[in-house]
Amino acid sequence: MTQALLEVQGLCFLDYQPVDLFLNPGEILGLEGASGAGKSLLFKALVDLIPCRGEVRLAGRSRSLMPAAHWRRQVGYLSAESAWWADRVGEHFKGDVSAQLQSLGLPLESLDWPVAQCSTGERQRLALVRLLENQPKVLLLDEPSAALDPGNVGKLEQLIFDFVRQPGQAVVLTSHDPSQLERMVGRRYRVAQKRIEAL
């Protein structure tokens, strides 16, 4: 049996039941649940952004053995709403991201755009590019296509498929679009009544 990429044992946060889950390499895992059920909280606990206890391992290495910043670069969480601190989009990137921009249907000039003038969908895609710069092994995507038109949804899905095709990489995805989950996701977990269970 191959080793799971991400293993979660007894992850406790707030008043939720302890969470056990695993994510295999190459997998796209679905996370279901009504709005407010706690999908985003689970993501935040997985990246250690909110107080939590329990064992979380990436490729066998416990996150408690590495600095939180190091962990968050390997397990990247794309929140439903992106936040930006500089005036221009380009100031948020470190290196050359032209290929990633292109694959998500964003022009190179988007780096010169003022953040305030970007649409929600543009910001969402730019935030994904920003996250990918860290070369994470696991992506936790919270409604990544919520504000995208159908053409760009296709590009985003292709990027996710390409991501999990790389060795030792995988994705957890939430979506309000049942057909998208149908197209992309294999195993699923559901968050309801403070519990997270495999379906």
Binding site: L49, H70, R72, R73
Partner: protein, 265 residues
């Protein structure tokens, strides 16, 4: 030196009363506050005048230290009271008072031991006014800067968390906020230095000249005091900003906004 009589002092008090009266007549709502603050000035300055006078006579170093600590405690309380959101528990008072203690008292010691060199070095005629001047100014800087850190951490939570999510450490994620807080805390003393003597004579120099001192000597003293204030405020602000920014995060670099009180006093 022209000695100030009580009738003359009372005549100035009439000006403040007139201001309060104007506020009442025009319904500006500050009359009460002006009067209470003026009354506090009279009582507090009267008391400190008596305290310093008796310190002169008693000449006990531990009494000087006690008065200085009392002033520090009052400054720490004032820093807490001026902040809209503050660190919960003993931190709000502790960080501010600690930063002022380290910076103001170090600079005061430097001023007494290296610059002024009175005999004995803790002579209350020098120690109390210098410590007071430094504490008062450091208090302004520290309370402005700490208020800036806590308010920004609360308002810019999404941005801070976005930066943490991208793998920045708490220190990196707070960089802009820390810089802005430093700027805000140091702006008053930088402005004072830039405008000193052009627009107005600083309070201490004015007092010295009015009390019959040589204007050139007064300038020298003022320069010394301003430099000490700049250093005291600067280091106090650095310490306060650094510790309060760090206190907003835990050991796993998570932002912990629940460590702040909600807004309002």
């Amino acid at each position: 030196m022209i000695l100030l009589g009580y009738p003359e002092l009372a005549s100035v008090a009439l000006l403040v009363l007139a201001l309060a009266g104007t506020s009442w007549a025009m319904n500006l709502g500050v009359g009460r506050r002006v009067l209470i603050a003026a009354l506090r000035t009279v009582i507090q300055l009267g008391l400190i005048g008596l305290v310093v006078k008796s310190l002169f006579e008693l000449r006990q170093p531990w009494l000087v230290a006690l008065v200085a600590l009392g002033m520090l405690a009052a400054a720490g309380r004032e820093v807490v009271a001026r902040q809209k959101r503050r660190l919960k528990g003993p931190w709000g008072f502790g960080v501010g008072a600690g930063a002022m203690f380290v910076s103001s008292f170090t600079v005061t010691l430097f001023g007494l031991l290296v610059v002024l060199k009175p005999d004995p070095w803790w002579h209350p005629q020098y120690a109390i006014p210098v410590a007071g001047m430094l504490l008062g100014n450091t208090m302004n800087g520290v309370s402005l800067a700490m208020g800036q850190v806590t308010e920004a951490a609360f308002k810019e939570r999404p941005v801070i968390e976005a930066r943490l999510l991208l793998g920045q450490t708490a220190r990196e994620a707070m960089g802009d906020i820390r810089r802005e807080a430093m700027r805000v805390g140091l702006m008053p003393i930088i402005n004072t230095m830039a405008a000193a003597g052009l627009v107005s004579l600083p309070g201490m120099m004015t007092g010295q000249i009015l009390a019959g001192g040589d204007p050139l000597e007064a300038s020298k003293y003022q320069i010394m005091i301003i430099f000490m204030i700049a250093a005291g405020t600067g280091f106090g602000v650095v310490a306060a900003v650094w510790v309060s920014a760090a206190r907003l995060f835990d050991e796993r670099d998570r932002l912990r906004p629940e460590r702040l009180t909600s807004s309002g006093r």
